[in-house]
Amino acid sequence: MGKVFAVLVTLITLISIAFFVMHTWWLPPNISTTGKAVDHQLEETLIGTGVLFLAGQLMLGCFAWMASGKTKDTRAKRFPGGATSVVVTAIVVVGIEIFTLTFVGSKAWGAIYLTPAEPGALRVDVQAEQFAFYFRYPGPDGQFGGLHPDKIDDGSGNYFGLDPANDVAARDDIVVGSLVVPVNRPIALSLHSKDVGHSFYVRELRMQEDFVPGLDIPLHFTATQVGKYEIVCTQLCGLGHYNMKAYLEVMSEPDYEQWLKTQAGQ
Amino acid sequence: MGVDVQDAIHAGQKLGGSGLPPVTRNTRLPKVALSERPERSETGVWIGIFAIVMTFAALTSAMIVREGVALDWQHFQLPKILYLDTVILFFSSWTLETALSKLKEGENRFSAGMTWLAVTLALGGMFVIGQVVAWRVLAGQGLFLATNPSSSFFYVFTAAHALHLVGGILGLGYLIYKLNRTRSAARTTGIRATSLYWHFMDGLWVYLFVLLLARM
């Protein structure tokens, strides 16, 4: 029984690790300036925990193997160093890993969430609602109009509750269903929710942030590759949660300017 | 002061339910009432106190967060009757302790002790009535549960406390009932547990009152 267990646990461990190592199912390529540090952190963690995983399971299997067989007098054989060596090993090994990962990881985290957006960043106001994302650009005047929840009317496309009749700044605000941005330019998002909690997740950017009703939450990034990427909701928001998505379209600078002109013209 | 284990075991078995060693030697009861270790019920109350403290701590932090997170907190004057209520509850702790010291003294002071217990019970009832009056005063001013976050927390805190105090009143009532039957404090369990809980309710109210005074 012990030998069977040892073999099974070893096989399971090796097969599991193989899929991790082979990157059979893996993250999509990173397109964000802050994403590289996250990927690096992931690789470090994979190696560090992979060693622990392998060592732990193999040790278990090994001891289970050795524990099978005929009963003998084994009172003399105790784990070398006894409990003290276990405790010390755990503290030292895990402690070092924790220390390293925290130190390096906090930089990756800080780059995304604790540094402010660059001063000239392109500002986009993002609204999440059941079950769609809408994006608002300030338009040629560079100003966002005020938001009035009582004026929200999805039927006529006034998702944000703008009041262009009385609010000059709101007249040229551009509201679209995709997040269109120029490549290699800092983008500063402001996330707010119309109804319940949602979340903004773009895998390729390696970032995720919740929309909290009542709050305006900043999130900024710089995309380094042109392309079309999915923005999906990751905070349970109701029956349409699985279907709530939008696209992040990263365009070249000229294409973006062209797009913006077309939108402003409308 | 040690009670021999074997004696205690055998004595307890003779007594049946109470689980306490009988008073054998002293005519004057020692300060730490009837045995060295707390009664089971007293341990239970201590544990319950921890839980109740956590509940009110959670509500306190909820209130602090809620006040800070939006600009809609409206301060209001606490109904004056709450000052009286505080005095009443404080006084009831004193009457409770008086009752207990009388009961400890022995047979001849037993009735006096019982009277003081009844006074304590009545004071507890008056406190609860005072709470209801306070709620009516606020309602008269248009401050209901949902009117404003400040009133919401006021009602939640005072109702939670009053509910727990009613539990204490029931406990005290039950203790009085038991004492009436045995006519002896030495042979009645739960005295220290009941008084501990009562004093805790008093202390909790003082904390709440100060908190509400400061934040409402």
């Binding site: 029984m1 399971i12 979340s199 | 284990v5």
Partner: protein, 590 residues
């Protein structure tokens, strides 16, 4: 040095007569323990069937599940569940499993049955409170199940019930009306029941230990129940007011959790000023300790059982106990790691991640101690021992994935993906449940006086062990791709190619679930037909094995056990050529 109970353990109630007093409204902790176990068993089978329904829907979205339309014509017309019904079943799956299985089985069920016996007491400190806490739990269960039968069905906000989705009511969507009210009421009732239970455990452990049973001589399972009940006392005391505030927001028009300006179903909501993050803080302040409530008793059970089968003491008894206490303490400092990307101040992520990573140290110590205890032993590979080995393996797997999620920089990618689902299922659904399995096979003879079938047990173990890896290991890979959780269908571009993986998981889940029927059959068959068990069939040392199988009404037949050792006297010269000394074995020199 020895803490002796100066209180005579005179029994507080006489032996009951009559069916109702004996089996229904019983004051006997052993009956109450079995009642909790029965409730957990019913809950786990309902929860498991729910998981099958979810998995089938994910892997085969168009498949018509026959009886489903009978359960809810609205939720599953023609046997295909609507997206909202998927979320309802998901919510109930999580709620039943976390509360009614993982808090009930390893903690309330086994704890109630064995804690008094293991410390040498005749019953719990407060038998009437004990009876009340079971029936209150049962009431909570009834209220929870009632949500299946109301018009809109169970709530759809998940077991975490985040506000404002859970707080605004029907305007936020179907399943959020009466179902959500019932959920909140049920959980509030459950909190009260758990508080009573925890209070009982703590008072009993402190006050009713037998003569010679010092704290350090208590079995590891008792220590685990004790630490768990302290955690539970403080945690449920916070969830209760949170649920009350949620109910008030829903029915009384308050705004604890609901801010201003929300527009739902084209209606401007009448609330204002509340904080959704406040709900999250209150919930997770309970929620994180709750998961340690789920796992610690199982760790204690495994640590108690393993030495019996290695025939040698556990390595590092004090280190194990110390680690349990450390985990209990640290569990209160880490709740924010569920909220790294919740919109709370990102700097607090750095603060929360530190104790989150530190808590891996006592967890590692315990895992290593269990593993190192195998070194040099010759094991008896009965079913309880196999589940101990399995536990160590799955606890390693589940614990390792925690390392990733504890780091905010990785959580930004992995949050709300299947990686999280893999992590918590490994540590809770698998590891904790393995502890329950081990405990069942180990203690069944004591509880029912009969042995369970070894061959059925071994089939159960091998199929389950292999099965759980097939179900939950692939979820890590899905998480790395970024497969979001709580989705009722996979329609996003990048998700469609993952459906084959989901199919593999679903089939594995169905097969593994089927293997649990072996366990159920074993329980039922052995109860009536199992070979009769002796007093101490496993040759174990703790006090429950010093009495009959099953124990008499007052546990020790009127005798008061006196304890001379801890539970670690295994692999020593025992009487009559045995290799162990029971805790009650008097020393040779009289």
């Amino acid at each position: 040095m020895h803490e002796v109970s100066t209180h005579p353990v005179a029994h507080q109630h006489t032996a009951p007569t009559g069916f109702i007093r004996k089996y229904v409204f019983s004051l006997d902790h052993k009956v109450i323990g079995k009642q909790y176990y029965g409730l957990a068993l019913v809950s786990v089978f309902i929860g498991m069937v729910l998981s099958w329904l979810l998995r089938i829907h994910l892997a085969y979205p168009d498949y018509h599940i026959p009886f489903l339309s009978k359960l809810s014509a609205v939720g599953a017309p023609g046997g295909v569940m609507t997206p909202e019904y998927y979320l309802s079943l998901l919510t109930m799956h999580g709620t039943l499993m976390v509360f009614f299985v993982l808090t009930n089985a390893p903690f309330a069920a086994f704890g109630n049955y064995f804690l008094p016996i293991q410390i040498g007491a005749e019953d719990m400190a407060f038998p009437r409170f004990n009876m009340m806490s079971f029936w209150t739990t049962f009431a909570a269960f009834v209220v929870m199940m009632a949500s299946f039968f109301v018009a809109d069905g169970p709530p759809i906000s998940g077991w975490t019930a985040y506000a404002p989705l859970s707080a605004v009511g029907r305007d936020a969507g179907p399943g959020l009306a009466l179902g959500q009210d019932l959920w909140a009421i049920s959980i509030a009732i459950f909190c009260i029941a758990s508080l009573l239970g925890a209070l009982n455990f703590i008072a009993t452990t402190l006050d009713l230990r037998a003569r010679g049973m010092s704290l350090l001589r208590m079995p590891y399972s008792t220590w685990a129940w004790f630490v768990t009940s302290v955690i539970a006392l403080l945690a449920f005391a916070v969830l209760l007011p949170a649920c009350v505030l949620l109910i008030l927001d829903r029915v009384a028009g308050t705004s604890f959790f609901i801010p201003a300006g929300l527009v739902l179903s084209d209606k401007l909501q009448p609330h204002s000023g509340g904080s959704p993050l406040l709900w999250q803080h209150l919930f997770w302040f309970f929620g994180h300790p709750e998961v340690y409530i789920a796992i610690l008793p199982s760790i204690g059970i495994i640590a108690t059982i393993l030495p019996v089968f290695t025939r040698r003491p556990l390595l590092g008894p004090k280190a194990l106990i110390g680690s349990m206490v450390a985990i209990g303490f640290l569990s209160y400092m880490v709740w924010g790691h569920h909220m790294f990307v919740s919109g709370m101040n990102p700097f607090s992520a750095n603060i929360f991640s530190v104790p989150t990573l530190i808590i891996t140290i006592p967890a590692t110590i315990m895992t290593l101690l269990l593993t190192a205890s195998l070194y040099g032993a010759k094991m008896r590979f009965d079913t309880p021992a196999l589940f101990c080995l399995g536990f160590i393996s799955v606890f390693i797997s589940g614990g390792i994935s925690g390392f990733y999620l504890a780091q905010p920089s990785l959580d930004t990618y992995l949050h709300a993906t299947y990686f999280v689902v893999a992590h918590f299922h490994f540590v809770m659904a698998v590891a904790s449940l393995f502890g329950v399995f081990a405990g069942t096979y180990f203690w069944f003879p004591k509880m029912f006086g009969r042995m369970m079938s070894e061959s059925l047990g071994k089939w159960h173990f091998w199929l389950t062990f292999l099965g759980v890896y097939c179900v939950f290991m692939p979820m890590h890979y899905l998480g790395l791709v970024g497969n979001v959780r709580r989705y009722s269908a996979f329609v996003d571009d990048y998700l469609a190619p993952l459906i084959p993986v989901h199919r593999f998981i679903t089939i594995a889940a169905l097969l593994t679930g089927a293997a649990q029927l072996i366990f159920l059959w074993n329980l039922i068959w052995s109860r009536f037909r199992g070979p009769v068990a002796s007093e101490n069939p496993w040759e174990a040392t703790s006090l429950e094995w010093a009495t009959t199988s099953p124990p008499p009404f007052d546990n020790f037949g009127g005798k008061h056990p006196v304890v001379y050792h801890g539970p670690n006297e295994l692999g020593v010269d025992g009487p009559d050529g045995t290799d162990f000394l029971m805790q009650t074995a008097a020393p040779k020199s009289s």
